[in-house]
């Protein structure tokens, strides 16, 4: 079962770039697909965070994915994945500058991606302040993983 899924994913991976990915994976080729290809998958194409997702899951942090990364990504995004795992990766996705905290600039980026820059500066600032105000439990002005999990585990919509 597990393998069947992997196989299916492998075919997806292979189909992204048939010329790059060998069908025969016996000798562990050092193949990684560039972000442009990954980001053009229908699953990610319309996702405002596709670049971040690719970056988080790729080993090199630039969105170029090996097959392993690819499988990882899909297993985390699958509905079988446990919530705390998802929360962890969600945290990483929203943590744009990789400093293990979601700070204001991360929030602003998130918000602008979500609304396609349609909110005014003031509104963005206000929303970010509110978010931090709501979720920041240790009052350090930014969200740690703990804060994030605390908050997101209570969200009714956090099922993906």
């Amino acid at each position: 079962m597990f393998l069947k899924e992997i196989l299916r994913l492998f075919h997806r991976y292979h189909d992204l770039a048939p010329q790059l990915v060998p069908l025969d994976y016996t000798n562990q080729p050092e193949v990684s697909l560039p972000y442009e290809l990954i980001g053009s998958m229908p699953e990610l194409k319309d996702n405002p965070f596709r670049q971040r997702i690719a970056e988080v899951f790729s080993e090199d942090g630039e969105g170029n994915m090996t097959l392993d990364d690819f499988l990882d990504m899909f297993s985390v995004l699958s509905e079988m994945a446990p919530r705390d795992l998802k929360a962890y990766y969600a945290f990483k996705i929203y943590d744009f500058n990789n400093d293990d905290f979601i700070c204001k600039s991360d929030l602003e980026k998130t918000l602008n991606k979500l609304t396609r820059d349609e909110l005014t500066e003031d509104e963005v600032r206000m929303v970010c302040e509110k978010v931090i105000d709501e979720a920041d439990l240790d009052n350090d002005g930014r969200l740690s993983l703990e804060d994030f999990q605390h908050m997101i585990m209570r969200a009714p919509d956090f099922l993906r």
């Binding site: 994976y25 319309d46 990882d72 998130t110 709501e134």
Partner: protein, 921 residues
């Protein structure tokens, strides 16, 4: 990594084998008991794998070479891996197997020596294998495998022999554990590489020992279970999707909502709800009244009430006549007058008059029930306006994107809806933050309400005055055009100016737009009631005049029929039989006020539909077209400047819908076809307005969140339902029905049909029963009882509401507490620090000081911590109080005691926050 091909499965097995090898090798380096154990595991795996391998060897020769190659590659990879993350993997492995190991330790320990030895062997094997691999591929492989497998077989045999009962059980447990692991591997938070590895280990373990313990059934069962689980989840999701797709217009409404906010969507949801309710009413009426009459009643032209009178027949098919609902329309199944007063119709003995009355009453009953039920249900959904979640914005920010979206259009909508919902929340938040001059605001609100009351009173008087005048005019001749149409003109002017005036005045109040909408709705509703009042007044005048007219016609008609028969017998003296019946078209008939009323309502509804649709077409569509296309050649910016695009008028549309429904309720009894018209209207209106909104309107400047329940709309609807109930019930109970049309003709009152049924169709005791029930001695206690029940339920709901509030408060407290517990490290410490700063100054003697301090701390710290629910504010207060004290205590007489460098603010002191602060000195 696994090979993705048809040999993948085999690869897995092989990979496992290699895995075992590598592990054993690496384990050896460490040379610990742990290592020994791991080796054993690896060995076991290997045994299983090679068993497998042997089977396959026999089965299919060709792929073997490939497999061998695979194996080598995998081995390489794994070797590399293991070099990198030995510690990590080891610890993961430990963690994973911790339980198993503990249980299995005792049994294993005794064997460990033996195993260790075997591990050594193994290691040699592995090394040899590795070398072989380097040299050549196929030829050696076979042999080696044979060797391995034989060795393993023997070993496993050995192991099996040495197993006792208890070990069996333990093993069983272990196998179960592994199987569970296999089943759950997918949801383990590990990287793919490690997961595969663990999976392999677990699988080989299970493979091996399942063989030893019995069948591989368990695993299959697990696989099956997991598969079913997956299928179930998928089914649930599909079912959910299916259910959502079954909700009519859900997509359309969501689309509107995403662009225009929930307030506009609330109108469409209301519209959809109305459609549902009207559909039920429609099917009731058509199923129980209209269709039986059409199928089983007398056909058109059989009796006078079903025939167009002779003088009208020439024009009965004219378009203009038909659009006025005269001619054939008037004498059709659409209206009350068409129905016959036969007690039963058709072979089914369907009691049409009874059914007509019951459906008429049932319409109201059902509507009341549905409206009230919906209100009650909505009350516990949203309860209040807006949300009081702790994480409104955070959730919006982090969980609003739907990661399943894979369609550009959907994504666009989602972006829009996220933006809109953010805007809604921002508006709410801004309202919360607003704190201005409360007195001024109150004054302005009172002022605005005063103005509006004046306006309403004025318009009420105006309507009264105009109605009076029009009644005078009705008796006069040669009126001017204005005098003839004065009432209508005044009414439509009021309807036009009133809402605008209210909106302007409402600016004064500066309510939140959601509340402002409610006020606006209420005020316009009050204004429109005047409209309703004049309409009903005019109608009652007409009905009364018709009733008077009827008396005379009744006599004339009877006389005419008698005359006809007299003439007939006079003209044909030798015919003794019954004369041929009169042509129904020739009979003199009464005015049939019920049909007149029905026609009035139908006309009103139709004109309302026309006006609404034309308004949308001109006011929105044409305006949008002009603004859009004339903008290229205009001297100012039409889009940004004056005409601009229209906004969706929520209050107007909602009230239109509500009043329309009132018309339907009032008219449905006299024109059963009205319900059909209304259903059509709502249906088209849904599509038309959705289109119009999406095509020609722009979102409100301040998109606001509608209250989750549409209860305000429902309340208006209930009011109008009650208002429309009154005239209908009045006519049913106290006006005599027309003598020659409708299902109740010939009776004193309409409800007599019920009495008749009780008397004639039900057994006699039922009649007496009803007479008892109708006895005031029974009715009054029943009413009393109901009042008591209402009172009781009311107080119960009140109590629940209070309890709810309490719980909410408690939750809020708990939340604060949690939040504070986390920060408290800091704030508690702050207090402590201040206390420490304070204490040495206070007491002259250092030794006492320390004691006192200790005491103080003992007293204070437990108090502060549990009291943290009070929030940081209280703590801050404590602090400020405490720090105020020393200065009041008088001058410091001696230098501070020899205390260590206390923790400076911002600099974490030792033991900060945990337990009592360290004592100094």
């Amino acid at each position: 990594m696994p090979k993705k091909s048809d040999t993948a499965r085999k690869l897995e097995d092989v990979g496992i084998e290699i895995d075992g090898d590598v592990e054993s090798a690496e384990e050896d380096k460490k040379a610990k008991s742990k290592g020994a154990k791991k080796t054993a595991a690896g060995k076991r795996g290997k045994a299983a794998a090679s068993e497998d391998g042997e089977d396959e060897d026999e089965d299919d020769e060709p792929p073997r070479g490939r497999r061998a190659a695979n194996k080598k590659k995998a081995a390489h990879a794994d070797e590399e891996d293991s070099d990198d993350d030995i510690p990590q993997r080891r610890c993961a492995g430990n963690r994973r197997r911790g339980k198993v190991r503990e249980s299995g330790r005792d049994g294993e320990n005794e064997k460990s020596g033996r195993k260790n030895r075997k591990g050594g062997n193994k290691k040699k094997d592995g090394k040899g294998k590795g070398k072989d691999k380097e040299n050549d591929k196929d030829s050696d492989k076979d042999e080696k495998k044979k060797k391995n497998s034989s060795g393993d077989d023997s070993k496993s045999d050995e192991e099996e022999e040495s197993m006792s009962e208890g070990e069996m059980a333990k093993l069983m447990e272990e196998v179960e554990e592994k199987k569970k692991l296999i089943a759950n591997i997918r949801i383990k938070p590990w990287r793919m590489r490690r997961r595969l590895q663990v999976l392999k280990e677990a699988q080989q373990f299970v493979d091996k020992f399942e063989g030893a313990l019995g069948k591989g059934k368990g695993r299959k069962l697990y696989a099956y279970k997991v598969m079913m689980m997956k299928k179930w989840i998928k089914f649930q999701r599909d079912f959910e999707n299916f259910r959502t797709s079954c909700i009519p217009w859900e997509r359309k409404i969501k689309e509107v909502e995403s662009h225009f906010g929930s307030s506009v969507a609330s109108y469409f949801i209301f519209l959809r709800w109305m459609y549902g309710m009207n559909l039920v009413l429609f099917s009731l009426t058509f199923g129980l009244v209209v269709i039986p009459e059409v199928l089983m009643g007398l056909p058109y032209g059989s009796i006078s009430r079903k025939t167009v009178p002779r003088e009208e027949q020439a024009t009965a098919m004219d378009y203009s006549v038909l659009t006025d609902f005269n001619g054939y329309c008037k004498y059709s199944v659409l209206f009350y007058g068409y129905y016959n007063n036969q007690r039963t119709i058709g072979f089914l003995k369907f009691r049409l008059p009874l059914s007509y009355l019951l459906v008429g009453i049932g319409t109201f009953g059902y509507s009341l029930m549905v409206v009230i039920r919906t209100m009650a249900k909505n009350a516990d959904v949203g309860g209040g306006d807006g949300e009081d979640n702790e994480f409104t914005f955070a959730w919006k920010m982090f969980t609003s994107w739907d990661y399943l979206i894979g369609n550009a259009e959907t994504a666009d909508n989602k972006y829009a809806s996220i933006t809109t919902s953010f805007k809604e929340s921002i508006v709410d938040e801004q309202e919360n933050q607003k704190d201005e001059n409360i007195h001024l605001r109150r004054f302005l609100r009172v002022l605005a309400n005063f103005f509006i009351t004046c306006t309403l009173g004025g318009s009420g008087y105006l309507i009264y005055f105009v109605v009076k005048r029009s009644q005078d005019f009705a008796n006069m001749d040669n009126l001017s055009w204005y005098e003839k149409n004065e009432l209508e003109i005044i009414m439509s002017l009021l309807g036009l100016v009133g809402p605008m005036l209210f909106e302007t005045i409402a600016e004064l109040e500066e309510y939140h737009p959601r509340i402002a909408l409610k006020w606006q709705l209420g005020r316009i509703f009050a204004l429109f009631l005047g409209n309703l009042y004049t309409f009903l007044l005019a109608l009652f005048d007409e009905v009364n005049s018709k009733l008077e007219e009827e008396e005379s016609i009744k006599n004339a008609s009877l006389w005419y029929i008698k005359e006809y028969y007299a003439n007939y017998s006079a003209n044909n003296p030798n015919d003794t039989g019954t004369p041929p019946p009169m042509d129904p078209a020739d009979i003199i008939r009464g005015p049939c006020w019920e049909t007149t009323v029905g026609i009035e309502f139908v006309k009103l509804t139709i004109s309302d539909i026309q006006v609404t649709y034309l308004t949308i077409l001109i006011g929105d569509f044409l305006r949008a077209l002009i603004v859009r296309f004339l903008n290229y050649c205009w001297c100012w910016d039409l889009e940004a400047g004056w005409p601009s695009y229209g906004e969706f008028d929520i209050s107007g549309n909602v009230l239109g819908l509500v009043f329309n429904q009132g018309m339907i309720w009032m008219g449905a009894f006299y024109a059963p076809g009205l319900l059909g018209i209304n259903v059509l209207r709502l249906l088209t209106s849904m599509y038309y307005q959705c289109w119009a909104v999406m095509a020609c309107n722009v979102p409100h400047a301040r998109v606001f969140k509608a209250s989750k329940s549409n209860n305000f709309y429902m309340g208006l609807l209930l009011l109008i339902l009650f208002l429309s109930l009154l005239p209908v019930v009045y006519t049913i109970m106290s006006l005599p029905p027309s003598f020659d049309c409708g299902p109740f003709s010939g009776k004193q009152r309409m409800f007599d049909v019920i009495m008749e049924t009780i008397d004639l169709d039900l057994p006699a005791f039922m009649g007496t029963l009803f007479s008892y029930v109708a006895n005031p001695g029974l009715i009054i206690p029943a009413v009393l009882l109901m009042v008591l029940a209402i009172y009781y339920l009311n107080s119960v709901s009140e109590a629940y509401k209070n309890a709810n509030m309490e719980l909410k408060k408690k939750m809020q407290m708990a939340r604060d507490e949690e939040k504070n517990r986390r920060n408290n490290k800091d704030s508690t410490n702050q207090v402590m620090k201040d206390l420490e700063d304070l204490l040495p100054n206070r007491s002259p003697a250092p030794p006492e000081n320390s004691a006192e301090k200790k005491h103080d701390q003992g007293g204070k710290s437990p108090k502060v911590k549990p009291g943290s629910a009070g929030g940081g504010v209280h703590l801050q207060k404590d602090v400020s109080l405490a720090s105020a004290n020393p200065s009041a205590r008088g001058p410091v007489t001696r230098a501070p005691g020899p205390r260590g460098p206390g923790p400076l603010p911002g600099q974490p002191g030792p033991g900060r926050g945990q337990g009592p602060p360290p004592r100094r000195q």
